[in-house]
C-alpha cells in the first residue's frame, strides 16, 4: 500500500515535529526529541501519567497528552518501544513530587526499556510505578501475559480520572489495574501495515483472507481465515470475548470499536451496530460507546472490539472530563 512520506528514517522525528507544531497550545517536546509533554502541567500537583510505546499507532500515544489526560507520551521507533533515556526524561519532565505512573502495553521490549527508565528515576528518588496493559484476549491464555492494544486508552482514562482528583500514586495505580482487569479486546486485520523505512508491508495476506487476533504491530494473529461479512466477524469475536468476560444479562459495558487505520468509519459503525445488537439481545446494556481510530497500526485495514465491564466507579472514571487533541469530553 502507498504512503505519503519523506525518507522513512525521518518519519518519527517529522511526525513529532509536525504534531507539536499543529498542537503547540497543548504540547511541546521535552528536552528529549522522543518525549511529548504538556505545555503546562496541572496547577495542583498530581501523579504524573506517562503513556508510551512505539510510533505508528497514532493517535496513540501522543494524541492523548493534554489537560486531564496523559502528562507525557514517550515515543519509540515505528512498532518499537521507546528507549530507557526517553522514559526517564519523561519522568523528570512531569514529576510534581507525587511520583509517576508508567502505562504501556505489555510487550517484552517495552518492559525492558521502561523498567530501565524507572530504575534511573529511582536513582533520583522519584517513585515510578507501572501498570502493564493486557487487554488482547487472543494473545495469551493468562490475562497477565497478554498484549495491550486499544485497551491502553481505557486504562489511561481511568488512571487520569483518578490522578486528576489529586489521589496518591498507589490509588492511581490501583485504578489503572482495576480498569485493565475489566478490559478485553480482540481484533482482526485484513491487511498488513506498510513500514516507512522499507515502504513495504510487514507480511503478505491473500485478497480473501483475514488474520484473527492480529496485534497492532503487525504481529501475526492466531489464525488465518477466509474473510467473512462484518456481522459474522463480530459474532466470532464476541463468541470469544463474552465468555471470557463472563458477562450476564443485566451487566453493563463500555464498547469501543477501534479502527486500525485503513478501515473506513462506515465499516466501523457497521461493526458497532452488530456488537450493540448482540449485546442488547443478551441483556447487556451499553453505558458508553467509542468508535474510531484510537490505536492504529498506520494503514492497516482492520479493527478491534474492546469491551469494559462497568461498575459505577469505572463508569465515573470513563465519563470524566478530558481535553487532549484526540480525547475530548466533558
Amino acid at each position: 500500500m502507498k504512503r505519503l512520506l519523506n525518507d522513512g528514517y525521518d518519519a518519527v522525528e517529522e511526525l513529532l515535529d509536525g504534531y507539536v507544531k499543529a498542537h503547540g497550545d497543548v504540547v511541546k517536546l521535552a528536552d528529549n526529541e522522543r518525549v511529548v509533554v504538556r505545555t503546562t502541567l496541572s496547577a495542583e500537583p498530581k501523579v504524573g501519567i506517562i503513556f508510551g510505546g512505539g510510533s505508528g499507532h497514532e493517535p496513540l500515544f501522543l494524541g492523548y497528552v493534554g489537560e486531564g489526560v496523559a502528562d507525557a507520551a514517550v515515543i519509540g521507533n515505528v512498532n518499537t518501544s521507546p528507549d530507557p533515556m526517553a522514559c526517564y526524561d519523561a519522568v523528570t519532565a512531569v514529576d510534581q513530587g507525587k511520583g509517576c505512573l508508567f502505562l504501556y502495553g505489555n510487550y517484552q521490549g517495552d518492559v525492558l526499556n521502561f523498567d530501565m527508565g524507572a530504575e534511573m528515576a529511582a536513582d533520583d528518588d522519584i517513585r515510578v510505578e507501572t501498570v502493564l496493559i493486557t487487554d488482547d484476549v487472543y494473545s495469551a491464555k493468562d490475562k497477565a501475559d497478554r498484549r495491550g492494544v486499544a485497551g491502553d486508552v481505557i486504562v489511561l482514562m481511568a488512571a487520569c480520572a483518578v490522578a486528576n482528583t489529586g489521589a496518591d500514586l498507589d490509588t492511581v495505580k490501583a485504578a489503572a489495574e482495576k480498569a485493565n482487569d475489566h478490559t478485553y479486546s480482540m481484533g482482526v486485520a485484513l491487511s498488513s501495515s506498510t513500514l516507512p523505512v522499507t515502504g513495504r508491508p510487514i507480511f503478505d495476506i491473500g485478497p480473501d483472507d483475514m488474520e484473527v487476533g492480529m496485534g497492532i504491530h503487525g504481529e501475526p494473529g492466531i489464525e488465518r481465515k477466509k474473510l467473512e461479512p462484518a456481522d459474522a466477524v463480530m459474532d466470532e469475536i464476541l463468541s470469544i470475548v463474552l465468555p471470557e468476560m463472563q458477562l450476564a444479562s443485566g451487566d453493563e459495558v463500555a464498547v469501543m470499536i477501534n479502527g486500525l487505520g485503513g478501515l473506513p468509519l462506515m465499516d466501523q459503525y457497521i461493526c458497532y451496530r452488530r456488537v450493540h445488537d448482540v449485546l442488547t439481545e443478551k441483556g447487556v446494556s451499553i453505558g458508553k460507546s467509542m468508535v474510531g481510530n484510537y490505536a492504529t497500526s498506520m494503514d492497516m485495514i482492520g479493527m478491534g472490539v474492546t469491551l469494559v465491564k462497568l461498575d459505577d466507579e469505572l463508569k465515573g472514571w470513563l465519563d470524566a472530563p478530558f481535553d487532549a487533541p484526540y480525547l475530548k469530553q466533558d
Binding site: 521507533n77 512498532n79 518501544s81 526499556n113 522499507t198 507480511f203 503487525g218 492466531i222
Partner: protein, 213 residues
C-alpha cells in the same frame, strides 16, 4: 597475533554497521514472520547513529569507552527488545576491560561472556527459548573451549556454532519475546535476533582475519 587496540574495535563496529545495512531487509523479513517486522530497521537506525558517533569519537576514548558509547547508542536508538539487550551486551563486554588501552585475544571470550550474561540478566531467557541466546550460548561454549593461539580458527568455530544455533531455532516454539504469543505458529521460522547476533559477531572474525593475514 598482535594485541587488539581501539582501532580494531572501531573498525569492527563499522563493519557491524555495514552488516546492519546489508542485512536490514532480511532481518526485517524474519521478524515479519514471527514478530513485528522491525528488527532490521531498528538495528539499521541504531548503527547509523553508531557510525555518526564513531566519526566524532574523541581521541581519548579508550576501548571500554568505545564499547560503552556503542552500547549506549544502541540503547538510545534501537529500542524494542533488542535495543536494551544489544546495548547492555556491548556496555558490559567493554566494562570487562575498563582502563586497558589494548586487549589481547584471550580477553575476548571473557568480554563476550559478560555481555551475554547481561542479556540473560535483562531478558531472563534460557537456551531453547528461541532468542539470540540460542546462537550466543552454544557459540560461546565453543569459543571458550577453543585454542585461541589461532584466533581466526577459534572465532570461525565460534561464529559457525552461533550460525548453527540460529538454524536450530527454526523448529523451536518461542518462549520469550514477541513471538512467544504465537504459540505453535512460531515453529518453522528462524529467530531474527539469533541471526543478527551471529552476523554481528562475524564482524570481529573479519577483523581478526585482517590482522592475521
Amino acid at each position: 597475533m598482535a594485541s587488539l587496540d581501539r582501532d580494531f574495535f572501531v573498525a569492527s563496529f563499522r563493519r557491524m554497521a555495514v552488516a546492519a545495512e546489508v542485512n536490514r531487509d532480511e532481518w526485517t523479513r524474519l521478524d515479519g514472520q514471527i514478530g513485528d517486522g522491525d528488527h532490521g530497521i531498528n538495528m539499521s537506525i541504531g548503527f547509523r547513529e553508531v557510525v555518526k558517533q564513531l566519526d566524532a569519537l574523541p581521541d581519548d576514548t579508550d576501548i571500554a569507552g568505545t564499547f560503552k558509547l556503542v552500547g549506549m547508542t544502541l540503547l538510545r536508538r534501537v529500542g524494542g527488545a533488542s535495543g536494551p539487550l544489544y546495548g547492555s551486551f556491548f556496555m558490559k563486554a567493554g566494562a570487562e576491560v575498563a582502563g586497558q588501552s589494548e586487549v589481547s585475544v584471550d580477553d575476548l571470550p571473557r568480554m563476550l561472556r559478560a555481555g551475554v550474561a547481561s542479556i540473560q540478566a535483562r531478558g531472563k531467557a534460557e537456551l531453547g527459548d528461541k532468542t539470540m541466546l540460542d546462537s550466543y550460548l552454544p557459540g560461546l561454549d565453543v569459543l571458550e573451549a577453543a585454542d585461541l593461539s589461532d584466533a581466526v580458527a577459534a572465532f570461525s568455530s565460534f561464529v559457525e556454532r552461533m550460525q548453527q544455533g540460529s538454524d536450530d531455532t527454526i523448529p523451536l516454539q518461542a518462549k520469550k519475546g514477541r513471538a512467544m504469543r504465537l504459540g505453535p505458529r512460531s515453529i518453522g521460522h528462524r529467530d531474527p535476533g539469533s541471526q543478527s547476533a551471529w552476523q554481528l559477531m562475524e564482524c570481529f572474525l573479519e577483523g581478526l582475519k585482517g590482522i592475521q593475514s
